[in-house]
């Protein structure tokens, strides 16, 4: 049950081995969270994340296996994960995502479609199930991990960026649809984050670490910000960047 300070006591993570989600879960466990349900693809990585949550104070952890390339199963995965919480769920983090190597995928129809499936279609399907179930609860919060890559698409990451853009815009509409239901949806838009997802990628200005993103996420959760930028200054940086003429944008971002 969320308390007066918006601190949840249980959390479900879809994409439970995501580095950003793990950092958020660590901090939530250090505060009030005691029950953690992690859903993801790799049993080994999920168990590792679950053990870490227990180290940080969780007294009960559960895992659910799923494949984000199968959106038709997303509803069932959500139902199973929420059932494993054993009480009304406080917070669901949607952290499913795949960055991949754009150069290898951009001329491959199957790989290109998979980027949309994993980054957008599966989360959208899961959110439909979450919406109905949380509204029935009369309360609950959803945090969807988007990306600044969705704000202005880069040539070097357009498969990822475009899929995230689809998810990000979908969530804006979904958040509006939740007004008056007791349920809220918040978007987290991190910039470039050092993590296993971005290993080997060249760093850009305002690069952060997962712990900083988690700090921003927790502060944003407490303040019930509709969109949480990390670091916060990116809100203004991207206000400028999104209006740059394309030739300049290409030169700035894809040197």
């Amino acid at each position: 049950m969320d308390n007066a300070f918006g601190q949840p006591q249980n959390v479900v993570v879809l994409g439970g081995s995501s580095d950003i989600a793990r950092a958020i879960v660590r901090k939530l466990c250090a505060a009030r969270v005691t029950t953690v349900v992690l859903a993801g693809r790799s049993p080994g990585l999920l168990e590792e994340a679950a053990a870490e949550a227990r180290d940080y104070g969780a007294t009960r952890t559960e895992t659910v296996l799923f494949d984000a390339e199968e959106p038709s199963h997303a509803g069932r995965v959500v139902a199973e994960a929420l059932a494993k919480v054993g009480e009304p769920v406080d917070l669901v983090i949607v952290a499913v995502g795949l960055l991949g190597n754009q150069r290898e995928m951009e001329d491959d129809p199957v790989a290109a479609a998979r980027m949309v499936t994993v980054n957008m279609t599966w989360p959208v399907a899961a959110l439909a199930e979450l919406r109905a179930r949380l509204i029935a609860q009369g309360r609950g919060r959803i945090l969807v991990i988007s990306s600044v890559a969705s704000i202005r698409i880069r040539r070097s990451q357009y498969l990822y960026g475009a899929a995230k853009a689809g998810l990000d815009r979908h969530c804006q509409g979904l958040a509006d649809s939740l007004a008056g239901t007791g349920v809220t949806l918040q978007l987290l838009r991190p910039g470039f984050v050092r993590s296993k997802m971005t290993e080997g990628e060249p760093e850009v200005p305002f690069t952060t670490g997962v712990n900083e993103v988690a700090d921003n996420a927790l502060a944003g959760l407490e303040r019930a910000e509709r969109v949480i930028w990390s670091p916060p200054i990116l809100r203004y940086v991207f206000f400028v960047l999104r209006h740059l003429p394309a030739p300049i944008w290409r030169r700035v971002m894809d040197r």
Binding site: M1, D2, G138
Partner: protein, 445 residues
């Protein structure tokens, strides 16, 4: 039935529920087939009278006020507000034996929270003055008293509705000659001075409470205004009257911006309040309403705290742990968390048969804190540890942020309570956002 967004007086952590206002016990009993919780006037500060996705029973349908007997005994519907009761009782020369700081509470809510007042050091909590009650639980309606199923009777005191829905109660009123209180006021420059004065002479007064400034540090840390009083006898007044309370004339019509109550404005308010009090005054007549319910003059004053709301932190510690009060105020003033004048008072004997009743002999301190400062959650967690170490506890009617582990440490009879609850509510239907957050009452929470 459409859904309604409900929160406590602090306006934090709202949830949506269906609301039913039954007007008979039968209608209420019929509804007892799904998760539910009773709600009175919504003056619990946190999430005690709400249940996301469930059914909330509005007790306002139980609104009968019986005749006040010659012995002062009155039977009341659980939805009767203290305001309405006093409007009837004061002109007849009767007063409620225990009143919280507002008249906007229902009889059921007063019992559910086992409320206390400025006279706790002498008269205990409301539990001591309830002679009988009707409780509707999933097992059916029951009449309870100290001799009729005392275990359930006392388990219901302070249980925040988790043993059932109260439909009626009989309360022993106290006689008064006038609608005035003779008040002695005294200002103290620091905490030790006011606490030793209270220890020395509280017993001489029926009513006693101190307002403490928790934002001043140094030599004046914990400076305070002590007000104590007695019901005024007719002989003490030139023109004695017995008028009921007047309804509030002011109201806060919109949410103030969240930053309105900040360290600067609160400090200024505390300063004004402190200076407005006389250094020393004797036997000043004040009407009952302004003495007992000073904030009832402004309706919806909680909106002054803005959209994000506020929490009240009220704890008590045993007499032997009095220094904890000082340490708590030191922690607060050092953390520079803004807080309005805190209420300090001495508790007399508690109700040991009631496992969830809050008061225990010693001291209690209550603070209003706007939600917002990032350090506030951590400061209150640290205060919890201090209170537990001192053998004290936090008041559930005020709580919006305790953890299950700290509640278990504060209320050692929690398991005994769970057994009683299990007997009348074997399927755990009686629950609230609070009971689920604190995992009160059963394994399911």
């Amino acid at each position: 039935m459409s859904r309604v967004r409900l929160s406590g007086w602090g306006r934090t952590a709202p949830s949506l529920a269906r609301v039913l206002r039954p007007s008979s016990e039968d209608e209420l009993l019929e509804a007892m087939s799904e998760p539910l919780i009773a709600r009175g006037l919504g003056r619990s500060y946190g999430d005690a009278a709400q249940l996301g996705g469930g059914l909330v029973i509005d007790n306002a349908g139980f609104d009968t006020i019986g005749p006040i007997g010659e012995d002062g005994l009155v039977e009341l519907g659980a939805g009767v507000s203290l305001e309405d009761l006093l409007a009837v009782a004061i002109p007849q020369g009767w007063f409620i034996p225990v009143t919280p700081g507002t008249r906007q509470v229902s009889v059921g809510g007063m019992i559910g929270a086992d409320v206390h007042g400025k006279n706790h050091h002498r008269d205990g909590s409301i539990a001591r003055h309830v002679t009988q009650m009707r409780l509707i639980s999933p097992q059916g309606p029951m009449s309870l008293s100290a001799s009729q199923d005392p275990e359930l009777f006392f388990a219901t005191m302070g249980a925040m509705g988790l043993t059932g829905v109260i439909s009626a109660a009989s309360i022993q009123m106290v006689p008064i000659e006038t609608d005035q209180v003779l008040v002695d006021t005294e200002r103290f420059e620091d905490l030790d001075a006011v606490m030793s004065e209270m220890e020395r002479s509280d017993e001489a007064y029926h009513y006693s409470v101190a307002w403490v400034d928790c934002m001043t540090s140094g030599a004046h840390m914990g400076r305070a205004i002590l007000t104590r009083g007695e019901h005024a006898p007719a002989s003490a007044l030139e023109a004695p009257t017995r008028r009921g309370p007047r309804p509030a004339r002011l109201r806060v019509a919109f949410d103030a911006p969240s930053g309105l109550l900040n360290p600067l404005s609160i400090r200024a308010f505390n300063e004004l309040w402190f200076r407005a009090a006389p250094r020393r005054a004797r036997e000043e007549p004040q009407d009952l309403a302004s003495f007992f319910h000073p904030l009832d003059g402004v309706r919806d004053w909680n909106r002054l705290y803005g959209r994000r709301g506020f929490v009240q932190y009220q704890f008590c510690v045993p007499t032997a742990s009095a220094p904890t009060i000082r340490r708590a105020i030191e922690m607060l003033s050092a953390s520079r968390v803004p807080s309005f004048l805190a209420v300090l008072k001495r508790f007399g004997p508690g109700t040991p048969q009631a496992p969830l009743s809050f008061p225990q002999p010693g001291w209690t301190l209550a603070l209003d804190l706007p939600v917002g400062p990032e350090r506030l959650p951590g400061v209150l967690d640290a205060l919890d540890r201090l209170v537990i170490e001192a053998g004290g506890r936090v008041y559930l009617a005020k709580d919006a942020r305790l953890s299950p582990a700290s509640v278990a440490a504060m209320y050692p009879d929690l398991e005994q309570f769970a057994r009683v609850k299990e007997r009348v509510d074997p399927h755990g239907l009686l629950r609230s956002d609070l009971s689920q957050r604190l995992r009160l009452g059963s394994a399911h929470g």
